[in-house]
């Protein structure tokens, strides 16, 4: 039997949960069609998470591209179909890429090894400086912190996931929640996830309540790492500091939980538990346009 999963018309970190919920009843080796025909918009998180869905399947799934030409063309310019072609059997009209997309700071890029992180950071720097200072009214000095943030979240894949993932960086106007421009980093993988990674720490004692939510709290809030090395765990702490300095938001989904460091402009839930399961880790960092002034 083939299961069909419908991708919502607007796909972001919240609406991706509809995809995961539909997926929950499909065995990993079951036949699957991911139907994005009616999807009109997708955030970098949505696109990279869709790719990790493809990665997670034992049996290669079918992917039906958006009917809307503009949407399909945009997805092509983000590099989505280039990677999707390796993971899915593509159906529908997949446009050829003609020129880059100005709002895409970093097209969807596979991250599997340390050199990929060098490549990503090298590619983003110049463009990020221009976008952060000119479009988001953020001090040019923030570019370095932005590149560091990108580097650390990508390294999460290399160090902990046990398999490759994807990163994308994009700017857009977030009308729904903020009414301002934002720059968004999305880094998604279908690897071990935080709980399993922390469980691999030698001699680790699990608490009674040990689950994905607690694993996320330990890693994201308390800076715990699977390594005994006291220098570990600084990456995500640094990401949190950077995001806090620029009034941004970071959310991490792993397994059946999602944690978010929520700024005052957003009403997201800080910790969600008992979500439908999805492998690996999915990270989103959002830095909004500054209305006035520098860091708080």
């Amino acid at each position: 039997m083939t299961s069909v999963i419908t991708v919502p018309p607007s796909l972001d970190d919240h609406s991706f949960e509809q995809v995961v919920e539909q997926l929950a009843s499909v065995p990993p080796d079951g036949k699957l069609v991911v139907d994005a025909r009616h999807t009109r918009w997708a955030s970098p998180y949505g696109l990279t998470a869709l790719l990790t869905l493809g990665q997670s399947r034992v049996e290669r799934a079918t992917f039906t591209a958006p009917d809307n030409e503009e949407t399909a063309s945009y997805w092509a310019r983000t590099g989505f179909f280039k990677h999707a072609d390796d993971l899915f059997d593509l159906h529908g009209s997949v446009p050829k890429v003609r020129g880059g997309e100005s709002s895409v700071l970093l097209e969807i890029t596979a991250v599997t090894k340390s050199e990929d992180v060098h490549d990503v950071v090298g590619r983003i720097q110049q463009k990020a400086q221009q976008i952060l200072s000119k479009e988001l009214n953020i001090d040019a000095k923030a570019t370095v912190g932005f590149a560091m943030t990108l580097s650390e979240v990508c390294q999460n894949i290399v160090e902990h996931a046990g398999r490759g993932g994807f990163v994308a960086v994009q700017t857009y106007t977030w009308r729904k929640r903020l009414g301002r421009r934002v720059v968004v980093i999305a880094v998604c993988d279908a690897g071990l996830g935080f709980r399993q990674s922390l469980e691999s720490a030698p001699g680790r004692v699990r608490s009674d309540r040990w689950d994905d939510a607690e694993a996320l709290e330990e890693a994201v809030v308390r800076g715990v790492s699977r390594f005994r090395d006291p220098g570990r765990g600084q990456g995500l702490a640094g990401v949190r500091r950077y995001v806090g300095r620029w009034d941004g938001k970071v959310s991490v989904r792993s397994g059946t939980a999602r944690i978010a460091i929520v700024p005052s402009w957003d009403d997201d839930v800080p910790l969600q538990e008992k979500l439908a399961p999805f492998p690996g880790s999915q990270v989103q960092v959002t830095i909004p346009e500054r209305v006035s002034g520098g860091p708080r």
Binding site: S114, V121, A147, M148, G231, Q234, G235, G238
Partner: protein, 189 residues
Amino acid sequence: MMMHIDLSSMLRQTLSCELYSNLVTRPTGAAVRSQIEALLADARERSLTIIDFSHVGMIDFSCADEVVAKLLLRYVAAERADREAYFLFRGVTDDHWDAIETVLERHGLALVLETDDGARIVGMVNDGERAAWEKVYELGRTVPSDLASALGAEERDAEALLVGLHRRRLLMRTEDGYVAVGGDGVRHD
């Protein structure tokens, strides 16, 4: 023994790639540190190494932990006086400082930065250590009695400060007293 290590060149050798100028990722940091340690292993005596960030674009937390913190941790308070290793950091800008400061705090470390007008001590030092280091930097070769009179302190307290700063490899101990890393009396060009 004096050494100058251009981190940018070392990074390119490590990655075998001319394109990268950023010190990012933990494996890269560990590889660069291993190269530095290999060079230091050849030193049969006391050494001063200039770690030069001048051509490094940026450094992230993970790489700073490997290249800066773990390097210092290995040599701070190392017992073999004949193999004492000291470090002076050159070319560190705001673009590098956030990551370096973070790892120094995390491990309770301090280091000496070369600046346009000399050198200064940064990281986790208390007011007494800072005042003592700055006085030695100003005085040049210093013995406990010099520091005691300069600070208006007891000689044994001054000596304890000098010993502590030497143990942290922020002062170099010579036969005639102590000199500040990066200060007069320590050749570092």
